[in-house]
Symmetry: C2
Subunit: 420 residues, 2 copies
């Protein structure tokens, strides 16, 4: 049997370090040329496999591949495309097999969150059933940090660092002007279902009473009265109030704050996110001057302030995925295991994909203070190691010199095209 090629794809929302995982995959595969042929990367993720748009990574220089370690976003393209269940769309799975067979692909590395790991797992089972066994390894990735079985997810540490740094900096700005200007500042961060990113804002505080004064988690139902009372108390005591709010903040009935049913003059749903909604709530009820910020994609692409720990772990996950494949493992995902040492240290573990899929790890109750507005010491102890270290990209002309791939596609071998 000729040696098999590998297929690697990026999936879902990209991060500051997903390319570091790609770098780990490709560099490690290149060290094992006897066992692994070429690494093909899906152009725009799994869509690339369905369309037979495979990027030939062997055409990329050693320097470009090394540069992926410090380049944010998805260098090969990612997608929001979830394969349906086999029952609902068997044709998609068959198409993948067809494409993989045509290009002699024997390894499938899927770099994504819970949904993607679910797909990887289903595909592993399907390929076995139809007699085209392929080694399927998941590589964890998500800024939301919501995957189970791994201590944390590559991508999260860097967004956490960005949010903690930005909260500290913006808080200093507000503090220095609150006497005569803005009294309330609201920073909206990502995290639709889990409050990990919002929690990271809490790291900005060096000691009790430091900003942020209020964190709003999706894990805690929003109570407007309690919130306003806390804002008022904070402004009266400290002169200003800094709030970090998760985009997933919602009322007890599940309504998102950002979808509070308001419409603009055209009858469109309220444009603003949760930050402007909260800011206006404060203004309307307490009269304080406000400012708000929504970092949106800036937070997850901010490679310029990535966590060195995160970069290292993202690379290690990619490397481990290839090593797992070579060791004959299948339908597993490397994980980050926190060691029980006094000083933070970690090692690589392994989780079966079947147990990763469709489980969302939320902030444990013990990580949120009793009042619902802050993080506990145990939350801080968990988060702090993940933002350690700076890993600055090289700069050219005042800007980060991120790499671009050539992205040369492998000639198609199949006649039929596939429309997903």
């Amino acid at each position: 049997m000729s040696k098999k090629n590998a297929f690697y794809a990026q999936s879902g929302g990209v991060t500051a370090v997903i390319n570091a995982s790609a770098c780990g995959v490709i560099e490690t595969a290149r060290l094992h040329k006897k066992e692994i042929g070429t690494v093909y990367a899906g152009r725009n993720g799994i869509i690339g496999a369905l369309r037979e748009e495979l990027i030939d990574t062997s055409k990329e220089s050693k320097k470009t591949i090394a540069g992926l370690r410090y380049t944010p976003s998805g260098a090969f393209g990612s997608c929001r495309y979830k394969l349906k269940s086999i029952e609902d769309n068997r044709a998609e799975y068959e198409r993948l097999i067809e494409v993989f067979k045509a290009h002699n692909i024997g390894y499938f590395f899927y770099n994504g969150g819970g949904d993607s790991q679910d797909t990887t797992n289903k595909f592993a089972q399907f390929s076995k059933d139809v007699g085209y066994p392929i080694t399927c390894i998941g590589i964890p990735k998500t800024v939301d940090n919501d995957l189970p079985l791994t201590d944390n997810c590559p991508g999260f540490g860097s967004v956490a660092k960005y949010v903690a740094v930005s909260t500290r900096e913006a808080s200093m700005d507000v503090a220095s002007m609150c006497e005569s200007s803005t009294k309330v500042f609201v920073l909206e961060v990502m995290g639709r279902h889990a409050g990990w990113i919002a929690a990271a804002g809490g790291l900005a505080a060096e000691q009790a009473g430091d900003p942020p004064h209020i964190i709003i988690f999706p894990e805690v139902a929003f109570d407007q009265k309690k919130f306003l009372a806390r804002v008022d108390k904070t402004v009266k005591e400290k002169g200003y109030c800094v709030i970090v709010v998760s985009e997933g903040a919602h009322y007890a009935d599940g309504t998102f704050l950002a979808d509070a049913g308001t419409t603009d003059a055209f009858g469109h749903a309220q444009l603003g996110g949760v930050a402007p909604t909260l800011a206006e709530m404060v203004k309307a009820n307490l009269g304080y001057k406000y400012h708000w910020a929504v970092s949106d994609y800036l937070q997850r692409s901010a490679r310029h302030i990535a966590s060195a720990t995160d970069v290292e772990q993202a690379y290690a996950m990619g490397k481990a995925a290839v090593e797992f494949a070579l060791a004959g493992k299948n339908a597993v995902m490397p994980t980050i295991v926190r060691k029980k040492t006094k000083k933070y240290s970690w090692t690589i573990g392994e989780a079966p994909l079947s147990k990763v899929a469709n489980v969302e790890k939320k902030l444990p109750k013990g990580y949120i203070t009793r009042d619902g507005f802050g993080i506990t010491p145990s939350c801080r102890a968990y988060l702090e190691p993940l933002i350690q270290g700076e890993d600055y990209p090289p700069y050219k002309n005042g800007l980060p010199a991120y790499v671009k791939i050539k992205g040369q596609l492998v000639p198609k071998k199949l006649k039929e095209s596939f429309s997903e």
Copy 2:
């Protein structure tokens, strides 16, 4: 005559490097102890002088003062408080004289934008008229880069770098996902009247066609039809469209896009800024999926990604202010003069405050492309040197270790208090 003390105050919106100017003032004054006594800093700017709340900077360690160089925001507090004209509120000017006299202050360093330099100038004249001559030196500061007579303003280079870096990073994020997700991304930046900061977003592009694809300046009246056509064309050609918009974007009749008269369900004016307004306009007319970000204070406090050139210039302006005072100059402001060298270099010039006041330097016509949506090569040539170099702060525990002053106040000598 005993040697005189100095008064230093920060004014208006703070920046990532205004404390570097403070550092320049205090370190330079400390080198001239024979001529200058203690440097007092106004607590919360000029309000501190009116209230006789003077921070004794001699109580701050050498290390703390040195740390100001890498600490964002206004360490002594700033304020949005403009002295009225002498005719309208002579009592304020008299109060300043009274406080300065009580504390033997013979030097006044005012670190701010156009309004502040206007005040400094008026005060210099007033003090002469009433027979309490005091050396008044302005120190330029503004993220808006709108002061005349100086090539650029300390504070701008760092916000420009932040915006350029963030635009590049977020654009890569959008590019990697546009096939199946967000097609239009809008980043809102500061600059109510002048488009310097929005223009800096243009530096993210390495070559023609690179994002940002559209920049919206306050200098160009917004034309919805032309804008939508350009967005549509860009998405069709490139697959996605990145827009950097100044908060001051407005229609031909002067109406700000952000104040387009829309109200929410409570009848409040539209909360969102211009970014969500534009994003919704795109969605409603073209149907493209969008995301938007508003950096707000994050952009001007982002010391973690400050421009080394900016930091150096901010420090130099503070240093020069003290040297000007010692050289017997009055009612002037040090300026940054770009030398006519091939490689960027600069030196320190001087401008009379009377010519700085109340002039707002907008983006010259030749800096905006004919279509109104981009920057010209001459704009790029102007901007590029200002974002050169990285000047990272020290980190502790994963976060920038910014300094905090003790802020010890000098005992009051006046019986009466003053309510501004």
